[in-house]
Symmetry: C2
Subunit: 491 residues, 2 copies
């Protein structure tokens, strides 16, 4: 199997599309804009889910499940929310099909028209806050910290596997609090939880910050985000956490009796990450040979390929390998011993390289005689010979080192792609020629933000947290600015 | 908190509805027929999922994810399939809302009408077999054994929490095989896997069998099922596994190159269990005091309630309890120490009884002095005093014993509610007065089956596997019959 993968330099976008399909992560379905997540891709998503779910529970959240459908009237209750989602939602209008009277096939049964249309959830604030009204009466019922794993639909016109699909999988946290401060604390906490996951498990460094008013979630008072940088110099929003103020509580009339005996509207947050993270994972680490997966999320961490002629040699190899497989599994390492006799070693090497398996062991006749394995690491493609006695320790060390290395490589790449500029000319040049994040002063107005976006396609990715205050002047208008913000072209 | 629960004897159906809501498992949402699964209910479902998922993986299945939407034309490709599902499906016809021109609010944008309507999946055979066509070329690609965890929608007119809802959560396995025999073996295997789960984890005994032609899944050649019996004498289908023959392969043109160089249609199975199992769990074990949960699926296995006056006593108790909590958790037991000072012990006792927590420990001043705990088991409501030194072992033993006991109780109930009858008169009397399963001879025709159903509301739940052959005559028509089948009224 040749990989026949377009190189990143040649066409980054094409490279990505081909890689996702060829490495068996996902493919387009017969339904416009909807993807099929294939077993290998889903196995990575399951690992992400398991870790995130653990982190949510450790921070006091519980899972629940709310309806797929949202009555049209619910969506309309929060003004900016409906503004944000009405333009791209799938609408259920009927609940039955029937045989056409003219025999032309199956048609919608007009007698089964819904009184009120249902929207397939694009996000669940409205249906959840309609429910919270019943659950929250008193300060004793707060905080309420719930997460949901679900599918959502946003009818995008231009779609790309994982990055932008009509249907995608995600989790959405929805919390309710007695005070503004506590809700803000929660929204910030979840941004940090996301950052910890994305950095420590996905090996993708992120910048934490807040969105400008025009980039905020529809219905939020503040949107916290984590922004990552892809190898083509474009940014990708990896997760968002919203402080919703009392907007949804007011829209759905959710009040609570305070300790002091008053009645107050509840404070809210929501936060989510989606299968989009799969796109970030692929685009951050992979190379022209295929996927490079961080060991913590690799469905197969170690593959063992026997190199043999004839069944006797294979048997002798298997006798060595099988106890090793057991030893590695006992350490919690996921191992595949690929002894298929339908495919040659070279084919297998290619396949596991394409699929980003972090560590590959090969063992042939000479290794058998010498008591060695050939060990190859996917991230650097380096190979070495390691004695069987040391192999378990070597594999453990390698997995840790690869996890560290892919992260460090991404950090280094990003460090080289954050440019500070002080003039709009310079800004345009960097955005056009080099890409990456550009740190610049901005006057804080949506007008300037729009102008920059229109002229350069770059948007403000975030107002970084903990960025030092620095007096300056907006690169476009020359008006005063107290802090640099981060611009980039983005996915 | 009084429980105010209707008793089973008074009104079984009302008891169930009240119990599901009051024990915080689920509730109806603002969307007709769609439920909200609350955190406590979802925690049980998560435990079910985790165990089933493990069993699926151990039997060689992988997870994947397919689109929520099914183009109308796909549904129509398999004749009996569309017949079965067209009458109850949610249809997406538009992909945008807009502001009404007369200012009356948000309306469907008629300019955004889909060329082809999309059905919200009622089950995924069609979209999956459309995908399998691309994945299967050769016998080397077989078997293909995939499972999906997903939400599905069937527009039911009369709904009940968990038992029958418009949207529900489930898993659906879809496998492809090179031979008829292998597919049948798979369908049977999954029936056994389901039975093992339902009996050993849910503590619900089931009868394995096959469905009659008229009760089969729309598109199946054989439907294997597991049937459980509820405390009101009605049966509940707990899981089904279908041998689909080559029906979907033919409808979606999925052929493979055989080892011998020919081309053949692929053989298929599908199998699923859903959140309906939650209903079976509740209805099998629970009593007039609330839920009774089998320890293996209880989100909280042990609750510890302190009985104290003043903070000094609470501190002294907590000093004892906290190490115990650690010890129990180290054994993998989920423990809640409820030291809330907002609620009295009696309230807490009631609450955990209602929620079916298997073991309750209480500790007060006198226990502290005597070095004891009061131990109560939820299934029998028995209480005893146990010394602190023996408490860990006691709790472990109790959890095992409760798991065994609730299962045995359900087996005993069922044994008392399987009646063999030889005349239709007797049949009608048993169905009417006693309920339960009725084992009787039937002539094998759908006409007789329909007549019985119409006259008694009883259906053939299954043709039991491994039932001994026994020559007899149909209780209705007197025609010859070789095997008894199981009738019951059913959910």
């Amino acid at each position: 199997m040749g990989k026949n993968l377009t190189s990143r330099a040649e066409d980054y976008s094409k490279w990505y599309n081909e890689l996702v399909v060829k490495s068996d992560l996902a493919e387009n379905s017969g339904v416009r804009g909807c993807m099929v997540i294939k077993p290998y891709g889903y196995a990575i998503w399951e690992k992400m889910q398991a870790q995130l779910d653990k982190m949510f529970k450790e921070t006091g959240h519980e899972n629940a499940y709310f309806p797929l459908f949202i009555p049209k009237s619910y969506l309309s209750k929060e003004a900016s929310h409906v503004e944000g989602f009405a333009k791209e939602c799938a609408v259920v209008t009927h609940y039955r099909l029937k045989n056409a009277e003219d025999g032309s096939g199956i048609v919608v049964d007009e007698d089964a028209k819904l009184e009120e249309e249902l929207i397939v959830r694009p996000t669940s604030e409205t249906i959840i806050w309609d429910t919270y009204r019943k659950w929250i009466q008193s300060y004793r019922d707060l905080p309420l910290k719930i997460n949901q794993w679900a599918n959502v639909v946003r009818w995008e016109m231009r779609t790309r596997l994982f990055l932008r699909t009509a249907e995608f999988l995600w989790q959405e946290g929805h919390t309710a609090h007695a005070t503004r401060e506590e809700a803000i604390e929660e929204a910030e906490l979840m941004m940090h939880v996301y950052a910890e996951f994305v950095e420590n498990y996905m090996g993708v460094p992120v910048i934490k910050g807040t969105k400008t008013a025009s980039e905020r979630f529809a219905g939020a008072e503040e949107t916290y985000c984590i922004e990552a940088l892809m190898q083509d110099g474009k940014a990708l929003q990896a997760g968002t956490s919203h402080f919703l103020g009392q907007n949804f509580a007011k829209a759905f009339d959710v009040k609570f009796a305070t300790k002091e005996g008053g009645q107050e509207y509840v404070w809210a947050t929501s936060w989510g990450v989606s299968t989009r993270l799969m796109g970030a994972l692929v685009m951050t680490h992979s190379d022209d040979n295929g996927l490079v997966l961080p060991p913590k999320l690799a469905p197969i961490q170690v593959v063992i390929v026997p190199i043999y002629k004839g069944m006797d040699q294979l048997d002798a190899i298997s006798e060595k390998v099988e106890p090793l497989v057991m030893q590695l599994r006992a350490k919690g390492i996921s191992v595949k011993y690929d002894n298929r006799d339908t495919h040659k070693p070279g084919f297998k090497f290619n396949e596991y390289e394409l699929k980003g398996v972090p560590v590959r062991l090969a063992i042939g006749q000479r290794d058998l005689e010498n008591g060695t394995y050939e060990v190859a690491r996917r991230d650097t493609l380096e190979k070495e010979s390691v004695s069987a006695a040391e192999i378990v320790g070597k594999v453990e060390a390698l997995l840790e080192d690869i996890q560290r290395n892919v992260y460090q490589k991404a950090i280094d790449y990003r460090a080289e792609h954050i440019t500070r500029v002080d003039s709009y000319e310079e800004f345009k040049k960097v955005i056009e020629e080099k890409g990456g994040f550009v740190s610049a002063h901005w006057d804080g107005t949506p007008e300037t933000e729009d102008k920059i976006k229109e002229e350069t396609k770059a948007t403000i990715r975030c107002i970084p947290l903990h960025e030092e205050q620095e007096e300056g002047t907006c690169m476009v208008t020359g008006k005063p600015s107290l802090q640099r913000v981060l611009f980039a072209k983005a996915y």
